[in-house]
Symmetry: C2
Subunit: 336 residues, 2 copies
């Protein structure tokens, strides 16, 4: 059984990409370790190591490497660019970890936190600065422009998420802006910058940007879907986290849109005012099922995955293109 | 009396610079307001306005404008560069505001905080991203390189400060690295990048970098001096803040170096272990006076101000050079 699972896993598209790009990935990992180090502030690798070494799927660097391969890039700065996006990603994770005071007052066990707030902030800043140095080394003003704009979109999306939390009047348009910031902006920057660095023709650059954006949107919608359904236990995510934190995601936005007066009062109390009783999550799941919004969220994710695959039609049909296309399917396969 | 104070203030070098550079400063302020805005996340200008509008001396943007003037820059991107350094400065202030959990547990009144931790972090990130966009617009890869390196030095210094806090074994070398990160790195980046943007000859670029660095080091040493002496009440700084927070600054490092066994035990208890009784600050001041380390800290600040002025000898003797030289005197005049 264990063997069978491994065999299946080995055929997942991100694993195929990792195999195809093994040498590049090794070089990127080496660069990440070298640039993470700080001679004078040894706490830095201490804090980052558990994040960077923890063996994430390296999906963002892989998007850089895959698009560079697809666009027949000949240099070595795709490694710098790949390390850049992983550092930016890690920096945003560290900053997301910062606990606001109100949350703490609600009784979160600070002893559970590996690092204090201050370290998370400052080490995140350090990684961002290191990312900035790496991308300057790439020597392309246009790549810098792409990453500067992505950084602004990410930060704006994060702030917007803060203001939409507990706000049941959040629109789908605002939701889309938040998830573009959280996830899609960096995916799109990875694929677009990979193409630009390779000197790809404009229509390829644009197609790969659209691919990265749509893949990121699909990825995040699936994440938000899984928070209210799916085999939560198997994916390391607890059902109901978003509900408890008052995050307003697509299944909720659509359930609120169809709510009668009584249901509306429920959402106002549980999400808007954060007053939750133990069985409120079950009732939220019931309302979401009643209006079929988990199903429509699933459809939305599939639509974005389809858009990602469609965008790839504009680029050359080389093996890595098929893997990127399969990756879009794989991302939404978590829905089942 | 009020009038007299105003007359004296009007003659301060930063006021003279502000007058000379009034048109440029107005353009920078306009750019700052425009780029601070966020269509989609209105909380951003809410959080930043009180920092950016609060009427700081704008010393960092002024250093960019002054060096550009000195180097006869003809374009308009010095405004972008000036706004960049102010945004970076403001972002670091926001991130410095983030309270670590242990601090809160020591009873800091969270109700006094204007913004929660999360907003401080994310809005700081937004300002940093906006700074990044502004500097890309300048179109100079070398300017980007300077600012990327400065960002890394700043972040590394901040993390180092975290690890030297409460550590009475901190060396003067580590202290210098911390204050370079906290203050001098951005001063030096402002003056160096201003010169580079202007296409100044290499010896002028280097002289202005050295000036900015030495000015920043002097500025921070004076700050640390004033925390243990000077007319604290008049400068909006409370004597003893650094002591209470366990920051290990030059007056303490030198007092520890000369401490006998009993004094050492005092520093270990009050700074190292953070166990302070109400009259411990008085005793710390007594020990600092006993070993003359406030006096020697003052000498150190004067030495750095002298180094800043000496560096200016290499650049053309135009009126703005005299103002920059006077600025170095002014920074350490707070010592008296």
């Amino acid at each position: 059984m264990t063997h069978m699972t491994q065999d299946i896993a080995a055929e997942a598209p991100h694993e195929q990409l990792a195999e195809l790009l093994a040498d590049d990935l090794a070089a990127v990992n080496q660069l990440i370790r070298a640039r993470m180090a700080s001679e004078h502030a040894p706490r830095i690798p201490e804090v980052t190591a558990h994040l960077i070494e923890a063996g994430g799927k390296r999906i963002r660097p892989m998007l850089v490497l895959a698009t560079s391969r697809l666009c027949r890039y000949q240099g070595e700065f795709h490694h710098h660019l790949a390390a850049t996006v992983e550092f930016i990603h890690t920096a945003t994770l560290l900053h997301d970890d910062v606990v606001d005071e109100s949350r703490q007052r609600r009784g979160r066990a600070t002893a559970n936190l590996l690092w204090d707030n201050k370290s998370s902030v400052l080490v995140g800043d350090y990684l961002f600065a290191r990312a900035f140095q790496l991308m300057v080394e790439c020597g392309s003003m246009r790549v810098l422009d792409i990453l500067a704009n992505a950084s602004a979109t990410i930060a704006e999306g994060e702030v917007l998420q803060l203001t939409t939390a507990q706000n049941i009047a959040t629109t789908e348009e605002q939701y889309l802006r938040v998830i573009r910031g959280k996830t899609a902006a960096l995916f799109a920057a990875a694929t677009e910058a990979g193409a630009v660095l390779s000197g790809a023709p404009e229509d390829h650059v644009e197609a790969l940007r659209v691919y990265g954006d749509a893949l990121g949107v699909a990825f995040q919608i699936v994440d938000d879907y899984l928070d209210y359904g799916g085999a939560g236990a198997g994916i390391g995510k607890n059902i109901g986290d978003d509900f408890r934190e008052g995050k307003v995601t697509l299944p909720v936005i659509r359930a609120v849109a169809q709510a009668d007066a009584e249901e509306r009062a429920f959402w106002i109390r549980t999400i808007g005012q954060g007053k939750q009783a133990p069985d409120d999550l079950d009732h939220a799941l019931y309302l979401i099922a009643r209006h079929g919004t988990l199903q429509s969220t699933r459809t939305e994710a599939l639509r974005w995955a389809g858009a990602a695959k469609a965008a790839l039609q504009a680029v050359p049909d080389v093996p890595v293109r098929r893997m990127l296309s399969d990756l879009a399917d794989y991302v939404v396969a978590r829905l089942n």
